[in-house]
């Protein structure tokens, strides 16, 4: 095919700048980072070739399993929480608020675009134990309980991180899933309702299956984001208490910049990348098989 739109010079001129910047600042560093996994040291101390040492270290490092486990735990819990809350909100928007819900949707969406650092600092103060008693502890005390030092124990710190991330992103998933729910034809639901289907049955047999595609893309998007989460945790807990809330992203950052080991840092970054790829492939596989079973 020979089109007037096939001029090579124009392609180069229009695509060139973006491709060049992208290649130089993202693709080349990515490959370069792979090269670093065979070295130890930093730009300040200089690099030494160590072969596969970083990879054997990966298996001996006691801090790695705990931060890998935290990454996975965080991603699973937050993804489940975000998408579930989003879905419930979306159902609320569609079946309860209907057209009138625009203001509610807009309000609940607002935290989504707030800077993570601002939200994290806000939550720090909101859950504060001392010297100021924050609203959460004040509420507990008002009901006769004793205040909790939320950031002193791993379990509590994780809870605050989870609550914060769900608080600031549920509005986003609600809007995403709401758009998916709107695509379900009304007459299909009316027909089922006329046939005597209960609300629960309606949700299970019509709404969930028909909104499955957008549900899956929400899951993929959420898990990809949560596996890479850094800002919220760094700003809220700094990885603590101890290293109890340190995901791979933060561990990589500390290894590279606090301990000046770019080699091992790159190895952790690579581990994270592989994890992201594996999880995405797994989800797509799993959902495709489910979809196949539905049809047969």
């Amino acid at each position: 095919m020979h089109s007037v739109l096939g001029d090579r010079k124009s392609v180069a001129l229009l695509l060139g700048p973006a491709l060049l910047v992208y290649s130089l600042v993202m693709l080349v560093p990515m490959l370069w980072s792979l090269g670093y996994t065979f070295y130890t040291g930093s730009v300040i101390s200089g690099f030494t070739f160590t072969g596969l040492d970083n990879f054997t270290k990966l298996f001996d490092d006691p801090a790695l399993p705990s931060s890998l486990w935290f990454t996975v735990k965080y991603a699973v819990v937050i993804t489940a929480g975000q998408v579930l809350m989003g879905y419930l909100l979306a159902l609320l928007y569609v079946f309860f608020l209907r057209r009138a819900g625009s203001v509610v949707r807009t309000l609940i969406f607002f935290p989504v675009i707030l800077p993570t650092v601002a939200v994290a600092l806000l939550f720090q103060k909101f859950f504060e134990f001392a010297p100021q008693t924050g609203p959460v502890n004040a509420l507990i005390e008002a009901f006769g309980g004793t205040g909790v030092d939320w950031f002193a124990t791993p379990g509590h710190a994780f809870l605050v991180v989870a609550l914060m991330d769900i608080w600031r992103s549920m509005g986003f998933y609600a809007v995403l899933l709401y758009a998916g729910l709107l695509d379900i034809p009304d007459d299909l639901m009316e027909a089922a309702a006329l046939d005597g289907a209960t609300t629960w049955r309606l949700i299970r047999s019509i709404i969930v299956p028909l909104s499955l595609p957008v549900l899956v893309s929400s899951l993929v998007f959420s898990i990809n984001g949560t596996l890479k989460a850094f800002d919220s945790i760094y700003a809220l807990t700094g990885g603590g208490p101890g290293s109890a809330t340190t995901p791979l992203t933060l561990y990589m950052y500390q290894t590279s910049f606090a301990y000046g080991d770019y080699g091992y840092g790159s190895t952790i970054a690579l581990t994270l990348t592989v994890l992201c790829l594996l999880v995405t492939v797994l989800i797509f596989r799993a959902t495709r098989r489910d979809a196949g079973q539905e049809q047969s």
Partner: protein, 277 residues
């Protein structure tokens, strides 16, 4: 009849009210706190209203450092945003409208950039910036922001261009306009709505970024809003609640101002970015 309907809807209304409270209360509490004195924070009830709503001492103290941070953020985000939009739209046009071999592969190449965690590119970039003596300037942030914003922009623009019949551009080109000309005077103006949406989405990503800003800013003079805010408490030794609250509040109010005018576009844009990404 109407009464039973209202009663039946009561639990639903209660749920909605509770939700709005959960979303709004922390922000209202933050706003109230920004007017409180240190003494009110430490000795008063945390849920109490401030003694005075005209106590702007916190804001003036916060502003003395936040002003620099805001300036740094603007000086990095706006140039990056401008380049992202121009380069990204041009690339989207080249990938979707122009006809050449390898388009699909190139698009996938950009797609990879959306998947890759930022941690994969930080260390080599730091090495380069350090060796080029760029650390200590705002250039590392501008360059890195530009590159990280491109993949999603290219991808979204390509998707938007897909909805435009190629004949439009063929006609323009047959009429004697060069392809570049038809991009500049037909495609770009035609897409200005999508371009604005993408620019808005990217603005929030860049403005709210912590990882990249944290890595490449080495001293206080280059701190962006987010990095500055993070170090805000440390600066005085003891936590000075009022100024800290005021500083967070400035950051929130700024975003609120944008959101008041563009909320529908923000919601649409972010949702579109997720579905396509």
């Amino acid at each position: 009849m109407k009464l039973t309907r209202t009663l039946r809807r009561l639990p639903g209304h209660a749920v909605v009210a509770l939700l709005l409270l959960v979303v709004a209360y922390p922000l209202i509490w933050l706003f109230l706190g920004s007017f409180k004195t240190q003494d009110e924070f430490l000795n008063g009830s945390t849920t109490a209203l401030p003694h005075s709503f005209t106590n702007f001492a916190n804001y003036s103290q916060a502003w003395s450092s936040v002003a620099t941070y805001l300036q740094n953020s603007l000086l990095t985000v706006l140039p990056a945003l401008a380049i992202i939009v121009v380069f990204g739209t041009a690339a989207g046009f080249a990938l979707e409208i122009l006809v050449w071999r390898g388009r699909q592969t190139t698009l996938l190449l950009f797609l990879a950039g959306i998947m890759i965690p930022g941690q994969m590119i930080l260390l080599p970039l730091f090495t380069v910036y350090f060796n080029l003596h760029l650390t200590g300037t705002l250039w590392p942030l501008i360059i890195t922001y530009t590159a990280t914003g491109l993949p999603l922009t290219v991808f979204m623009m390509a998707t938007y261009f897909r909805a435009v019949p190629r004949e439009v551009f063929e006609a323009a080109t047959m009429d004697g306009a060069s392809i570049i000309r038809s991009f500049v005077s037909v495609a770009f103006p035609m897409m200005r709505n999508s371009v604005l949406t993408i620019a808005l989405v990217q603005f929030f990503f860049l403005w709210n970024d912590l990882l990249i800003a944290l890595t490449f800013t080495t001293d206080d003079a280059q701190r962006t809003v987010q990095v500055g805010l993070l170090n805000f408490t440390g600066q005085f030794g003891v936590v000075e609640y009022g100024p800290t609250f005021a500083a967070i509040c400035i950051n929130v109010l700024l975003i609120l101002a944008i959101y008041l005018f563009l909320n529908q576009r923000v919601m649409r844009g972010l949702a579109a970015g997720a579905v396509k990404g």
